[in-house]
Structures are given as structure tokens and as C-alpha cells.
């Protein structure tokens, strides 16, 4: 059975994108604001201009990195259970991460996110099988900034049995998080063998690796914890105005990151990821729900897949300010495109307002779009020896297929069942149940998932370890 897939660009265009990215890195180079990173790249054959902090990368160095980077890796949870594979033609979704605000369901307004909001999102995502991983979904305003990145990770680990897509706020924060993970996973070696988290690392467009980003890549490579490059050209402002031009920049930023990462530790897991957007020329914003944004994502994912790498992107998000029709159509369309483009991990569900705002209610609506997208990607099942002939035996022109045992056997394989967020009842039933719209149904669904939430079955000693290590880090920072 063939999987439906969406290839936006031709094989020739993929090759041209890579050729131009190699040329860009060889001639213009990339600015790397960390001496150790420049030294690592120089030892691999790169030409370094120390004053300008510019590194020019020969194709052979990058090719060596592409050769040693793994084509897939598996993520685990704290219980040591394998939960998902990045790569291997799998598509997964996780909630978007690092929103500053949440959409308060009672007031309908945005407000700064608190740790209680993160907990709520974790609980909702935990009950939605559409999300294979959790994310550190918001930045908690009630947690001191120096340990904010670690505290989010801690909350997810304590409350979820899914792996986590996360990231640090500073290089020191990243190192603290890696130490913490090694501590709670049974040591650095155990963490390397069964990583529970992926860390986003963001180059600065165009073509810059800050000291923080470069340090993160080196630290993650050495720890053997998966790094996810989140390259984000903004087409027309921090990237070329043409979509293909920005995809070339994306490729160059990812290739440079992979070269550095693999110089630091060949064979360490790394993801060809990103969060590009077009630059809206009327408002100066970066619309994540624009079709052109999704087109760049599909194109760069195709480039990453051509290199055999696991991929990531930011879709299934919307720029709407409420969970309204715009939110539904932008998130739904882009979730489908991401799934068909075969992206290994699609982050963004639950997010509004250019990734500034998270909403648990939107997350449960998006889960329905994700369900549909994943079903679409399964394609047309062939579940019976004949495609249709055998169903007609004994039918005799009556609409009696409901009576066939095979109907009961196979309908679940064919139809993905929506939750009550999607209304497929009669208009009378809808009237009688209070004429609820999507938003109202989503609110009920969130309440239902929070009520049904069960915490992961962590051994008491491990939970205790988590709490003690967090307390120690808090103390260390406030001292």
C-alpha cells in the first residue's frame, strides 16, 4: 500500500537548493560567535576569520557530518519505555512550545502563562493520543527566569509518560537541564541510550550561530541528547523574499549546524528542523498560518528527507487571536500539509497569535485536525482480498451492509473517530444539547481530559529524585 505524500518541489530543485546552500557556506560562510565552535570547525577543515567570527565551510566537511548523522533515533519516557521514533518515515505531532501567554478560557483574553497553565496543557496533551510527545508549551511567568527553562522540563517529566520537545533559555540553562536529565535518568550513559527529550537550537537568521546556539549544539552532541535545529528565515526580512531563496538559507543554516554538531560528536542525533515564516508586508508580522509558510516547510522537509535526516517543523498553529474559524482553517490546512510532507515531528498545535499564545481549548480542536491528517496519511487501506466484490455476496440490491459482520470488524480501521469536539449529530440533537459551538465543545473536552488525567506511574524513588534535584537547583540559583 502506498502512503500518500506531497512533494512540493522537484528532485532537480532539491539538488539546486543543496548546491546553492553548499556554495553559500563555502563563500559567504556562517558567523559563529563561539571561539570553541570555530576551533572545532577549523580542525575539520573550515577556513576561519577570527575577527569577523566568520567560518567558511568546505563541502567535504559538511558531507562528513551528513554521513555520520543518524537517520533515525528513538525517544523514551522516564520509565524507560520507547515511545516514538524520529525518522523512519514516521509522522508525529506535539503541542507548540514556549508561548508567553495563554488564552484564558473564562475571559477570552490573553494573559501571561503560569506554571498552572503549563500543568493544564500537559494534562490535556497526555490524554490525546494524537500527540506522541509533550512540549514545554509555555514560559511560566511565575517561575524565576534563571531556572525557568529547567522548571518547565521538570513539570513535564513529573506529569507525563511521553517524551518532551524542549529547549533552554541560555547556554548555562541548557547545561543545567542536561545535568538534571542525566541525574533523573540514571546517569549520562543511560540518558544517551534512552533520551527522553529533544532540545531545540535556534540559529539567528541570516546565517548566524550565537554563542548560545553553538554552545548548545556542542553540549547536546557530547551528551548524545537529540538536537533539533530550528532555522527560521523570515522571507522578505530575515531571509530572501522568495520562498525558494529562504529554503536555501534554511538549508545552509541546518547544514552548518550539522557540521558543527557532528564535529563535536560524530553520530550524535540531530534533526533538520525549522520555524520559518513569510514576513507580512502590511503588518510586519510572521504568519505561521500562511500557506506560503507551510510551503517553505514542505519544501525544506523534502530537502531534509533527501539527505535521510529526521525532520521537524512548526505547523498546525494559527495567527488568530481566538479559537475561531481562522484558527481552525489555518491549523487544519497546515496540519494536513505537514503530515503529507512526511515531517517527523510537527510542533505548533494549540498555538495562536504568531506562537505567542497557547490555548488548551485550541489544542483539543487541533487534535481533531491532527487525527484527520494522520488518517489521511495512512491512505486507502486494502483490508479485504477483493476491493469490493465480496461485499456484494447476498446483498441483493438491499442497503444491508450494516448487517455484515465485516462492517463491524473493519469500520474502526477505516474511520478515525472524532471526539465530541466535532459535531456530527443531528440538528435536533445539537439544539437539545444547548447549541454549543466548537469553542464551547472544546471547553467541555478540556475539562473532561483534565478530570480523566492520570499521572505517569513513576516509581516513588524516581519522583522523589526529580523533586529533590529541582529543589536543589532552585536553591542553587537563588543563593
Amino acid at each position: 500500500m502506498s502512503r500518500p505524500s506531497f512533494e512540493l518541489i522537484s528532485t532537480e530543485q532539491v539538488a539546486r537548493i543543496l548546491d546553492e546552500a553548499f556554495a553559500l557556506l563555502a563563500h559567504t560562510g556562517v558567523r559563529v560567535s563561539l571561539p570553541e565552535a570555530r576551533a572545532l570547525l577549523a580542525s575539520g577543515g573550515a577556513a576561519v576569520d577570527e575577527n569577523a567570527e566568520v567560518v567558511r565551510l568546505p563541502e567535504a566537511l559538511i558531507r562528513a557530518g551528513l554521513q555520520s548523522a543518524p537517520h533515525s533515533f528513538t525517544l523514551y519516557n522516564l520509565l524507560g519505555e520507547a515511545r516514538l521514533t524520529y525518522g523512519d518515515d514516521q509522522v508525529h505531532f506535539d503541542p507548540g512550545s514556549a508561548a508567553v501567554n495563554v488564552l484564558d478560557a473564562d475571559s477570552g483574553r490573553q494573559r501571561p502563562a503560569q506554571s498552572a497553565d503549563l500543568l493544564r496543557i500537559i494534562q490535556v496533551a497526555e490524554g490525546l493520543p494524537q500527540f506522541a510527545a509533550q512540549s514545554t508549551a509555555v514560559v511560566c511567568a511565575d517561575i524565576p527566569v534563571p531556572i525557568g527553562d529547567l522548571y518547565r522540563l521538570y513539570l513535564v517529566l513529573l506529569h507525563s509518560a511521553k517524551p518532551v520537545i524542549t529547549g533552554a533559555f541560555t547556554a548555562e540553562g541548557g547545561q543545567r537541564m542536561l545535568r538534571f536529565l542525566a541525574g533523573v535518568c540514571g546517569g549520562a550513559q543511560a540518558l544517551r541510550e534512552r533520551p527522553v527529550a529533544v532540545f531545540d537550537v535556534c540559529p539567528t537568521p541570516p546565517l548566524v550561530y550565537s554563542a548560545f546556539a553553538a554552545q548548545s549544539l556542542i553540549d547536546l552532541a557530547r551528551a548524545g541528547v537529540p538536537a533539533e535545529i530550528v532555522s527560521m528565515p523570515l522571507a522578505g526580512s530575515a531571509g530572501p523574499v522568495t520562498l525558494l531563496g529562504s529554503v536555501v538559507q534554511h538549508a545552509a543554516e541546518c547544514l552548518a549546524g550539522i557540521a558543527l554538531h557532528q564535529c563535536a560528536a560524530p553520530g550524535a542525533p540531530i534533526v533538520w528542523g525549522g520555524a520559518p515564516a513569510i514576513f507580512d508586508m502590511r503588518h510586519g508580522t510572521t504568519p505561521m498560518g500562511a500557506v506560503e509558510t507551510a510551503m517553505m516547510d514542505a519544501a525544506y522537509a523534502q530537502v531534509g528527507r533527501s539527505l535521510g535526516l529526521p525532520t521537524h517543523t512548526y505547523l498546525a498553529a494559527s495567527d488568530a487571536k481566538l479559537v475561531d474559524a481562522q484558527a481552525g482553517l489555518e491549523s487544519g490546512i497546515s496540519a494536513v500539509l505537514a503530515a503529507l510532507a512526511g515531517v517527523s515531528m510537527v510542533s505548533g498545535a494549540g498555538m495562536l497569535d504568531f506562537l505567542n499564545c497557547h490555548s488548551a481549548e485550541k489544542l483539543v480542536v487541533d487534535a481533531e485536525a491532527v487525527r484527520a491528517a494522520l488518517r489521511l496519511r495512512e491512505g486507502m487501506h486494502e483490508l479485504t482480498p477483493t476491493l469490493g466484490l465480496e461485499f456484494f455476496v447476498g446483498i441483493d440490491f438491499r442497503a444491508d451492509f450494516l448487517k455484515q459482520k465485516v462492517t463491524r470488524q473493519l469500520f474502526r480501521a477505516e474511520q478515525s473517530l472524532p471526539s465530541a469536539v466535532i459535531d456530527r449529530g443531528s440538528v435536533r440533537a445539537w439544539e437539545e444539547s444547548g447549541r454549543l459551538d466548537t469553542w464551547a465543545r472544546a471547553r467541555l473536552r478540556v475539562e473532561e481530559l483534565v478530570a480523566a488525567y492520570t499521572p505517569p506511574d513513576l516509581p516513588p524513588a524516581q519522583a522523589q529524585e526529580l523533586r529533590e534535584r529541582m529543589a536543589a537547583e532552585q536553591k542553587a540559583v537563588s543563593a
Binding site: 548566524v208 550565537s210 502590511r282 505567542n356
Partner: protein, 216 residues
């Protein structure tokens, strides 16, 4: 004759042609046209048109930015002549602007700086990742009216508050108006930290700066 050249100046700004704008500025000097008149009746007229069209949704940010670049090129050509004549363009105000320490996001801040300068402000753009002391030093040096602090990160937002506190500690809070901006910045945040103004976007920032200069 003069009307023609003023129209051409306005058009060069509207078209975002900075070489043409600079050429017309040089021609004005050669023709003995008062630079202040050239600016007001020529280039500024073009800028005003572009601003209006932008507000109407008929022109876009690239039009606005290229128009501002053309305007800047023209003024650069006219400045020596203004100095020679002992005149100066009346500026609406002097602004020191930058992205706060720990944050390297450039686009929003640069756009605000560009639009401010196109709208008659003298702008000193300090770039990104700017230490708070640098803002203060520069503001004192150029006797700024407004200090604009940009931040895109919630982790660096706190620097906007620290800066207001630093101005108070230095006893110079009343000398400067503080304008804050960036994606996570809200009206309530601006009020909470004691900033004088805030804007959601670049064109709003220009309005906010004008209001601050009018004492609003």
C-alpha cells in the same frame, strides 16, 4: 522649474530610488535651492504620500522602508549645504534606540528606527544586545528626548524595567521619555514598569513618539 524638481524629489522617495533621490538633492544644491525647502516641499511630500498609502493598505513595508532609505540618502547629500548655510533641519526629536542586552532580534527595532527617521526624528540606532549603560551613555551624549528599548524575548523584557530603574537611580529619569516595544510588550507591562509609551507596531511607534514630543 522648482515645482518640477520638487515633484521629482517626491517621486524618487515614492519609488524608493535612493540614487535618484541623492542625485536630485545634489542638483538642488547646484541650483541654489534652500535644502530645507527641498526637504519640506520635495522629499517629505513623497514620504507623506507613502505613509498615507501604507495606512490605506495600498503600499507595503518594502515601499515604506525603501522610501525611508531614499529620504535618508537625500538628506545626507543636503547636510553639508545646510551646515554651510548655518541652517539645520528642525527635527521632531532625538531618539536613541536599540534591542536590550541578551536579545539579538533586529527587525522590529530597525523598522521603528527607519520610520522615525523618515518622519523627522534624529535617530541613533545602537543595534542589538545593547547593555543598559550604553543606552544611557548615548542618550546623555546626544541629549536624547526619547530612548527606545526593544525586546522580543520574555527573558530579556526585564531589562526594560531595569533600565527605567537605572534612570531613576542615576537621577535622570525626568530628562528622557522611555518608549518600549517588542512582541511580548503590552500596554500593562509598559505601565507597570513606568515607561512613557509603547506600541504594538512600527507605525504606531511613530505616533507614540510624536505624542511624547507633544507632551502627551
Amino acid at each position: 522649474m522648482s515645482t518640477d524638481i520638487f515633484q521629482a524629489m517626491a517621486q524618487s522617495v515614492i519609488d524608493g530610488e535612493k540614487e535618484e533621490a541623492a542625485r536630485l538633492a545634489r542638483q538642488a544644491v547646484t541650483d541654489g535651492i534652500d535644502p530645507l525647502v527641498a526637504i519640506d516641499q520635495g522629499f517629505v511630500a513623497g514620504m507623506r504620500y507613502v505613509g498615507e498609502q501604507y495606512t490605506l493598505g495600498e503600499m507595503f513595508l518594502p515601499d515604506l522602508v525603501l522610501a525611508a532609505e531614499a529620504m535618508k540618502a537625500a538628506i545626507a547629500e543636503l547636510e553639508p549645504e545646510m551646515a554651510r548655510r548655518g541652517t539645520a533641519r528642525q527635527v521632531l526629536g532625538t531618539v536613541v534606540i536599540g534591542t536590550v542586552e541578551g536579545d539579538i532580534h533586529d527587525i522590529g527595532k530597525t523598522l521603528v528606527g527607519t520610520l522615525l527617521s523618515a518622519n523627522g526624528f534624529k535617530v541613533y540606532d545602537l543595534g542589538v544586545n545593547v547593555p543598559l549603560q550604553t543606552f544611557l551613555d548615548k542618550a546623555l551624549e546626544v541629549n536624547a528626548d526619547i530612548i527606545g528599548l526593544s525586546t522580543l524575548l520574555t527573558t530579556t523584557m526585564i531589562n526594560q524595567r531595569k533600565f527605567v530603574q537605572a534612570l531613576e537611580a542615576a537621577g535622570v529619569r525626568s530628562r528622557f521619555k522611555v518608549l518600549v516595544g517588542g512582541a511580548p510588550v503590552t500596554r500593562s507591562w509598559a505601565a507597570e514598569i513606568g515607561a512613557d509609551g509603547y506600541s504594538e507596531d512600527a507605525s504606531g511607534a511613530v505616533q507614540a513618539a510624536i505624542q511624547l514630543m507633544q507632551g502627551g
